[in-house]
Subunit: 165 residues, 2 copies
Amino acid sequence: MMTPGFVVGEAETMIEVIPIGYVRGGREKARDDYWAREQASIELDGEQFATDALAGLEQFSHAEVVFHFHKMDQTKIVSTARHPRNNCDWPEIGIFSQRGRARPNRIGVTVCAIVAINRLWLSVRGLDAIDGTPVLDIKPYLNGFAPRGTVREPDWAREIMADYW
Amino acid sequence: MMTPGFVVGEAETMIEVIPIGYVRGGREKARDDYWAREQASIELDGEQFATDALAGLEQFSHAEVVFHFHKMDQTKIVSTARHPRNNCDWPEIGIFSQRGRARPNRIGVTVCAIVAINRLWLSVRGLDAIDGTPVLDIKPYLNGFAPRGTVREPDWAREIMADYW
């Protein structure tokens, strides 16, 4: 069945991605808060990449890491509206209005501090991904990619982040 | 062949993702600069999502969009060091030290302004993705996910962004 508006081939088109590397170290299990001091490394796949894949990244203070919430049980992904962290003090909202792990495609995106780079190893601080997490991409954080214009967010978004880092 | 350090099953593990929707409108072809005023919409897949998937997103000024550079020819992906935009004024750096499209997994991440939400349609401004781009995720932009600490970047990163928006 096609969705109105979708052209042939668009619905349910699968895209295949291959981890560029994996998170090494850091937490063994996901926990909601206190990620700021977590240190971990990302080991790039030496079969895919030469040792210059991270060259020049040391000029940046921060990297944006795109990763896969691989431990999130796919059967628990809820796409209908729910309370963030199931906390009824916060509004019932859609999955694309929150950043929780139980989301379609299970993709996480986090900006973390670069600690050190050694050939195919990138050491970071404040990456909210557990040991063994597949990494899909690493990008340098450029000021030019910060939000343009004033950022507005609801009260719950501030409250949920109070102890996150 | 396994990479030293990689455990069995890690190398070349494929992850399948399915577009949650597609970009409608905006540019037909990619161009490097002047994206700020581009308006486009993201149409969510009505087969996958109920109309509350975006509920609550109107409380945010900005959304982070994860998308797939589907028009980027996979054979042109270069993972060895190169000059951003092939401009020799800028240093030769690894693919994970730049944000260009010719990258492994062809994943883009951009924060854009929310213009309007109408059921499964999200209208945005300043999304640097062309008409028909598969969208893999939408997240609200929370101030709490901005970089912690001072951001440092090389001169070329400022220069490359001079006319981007």
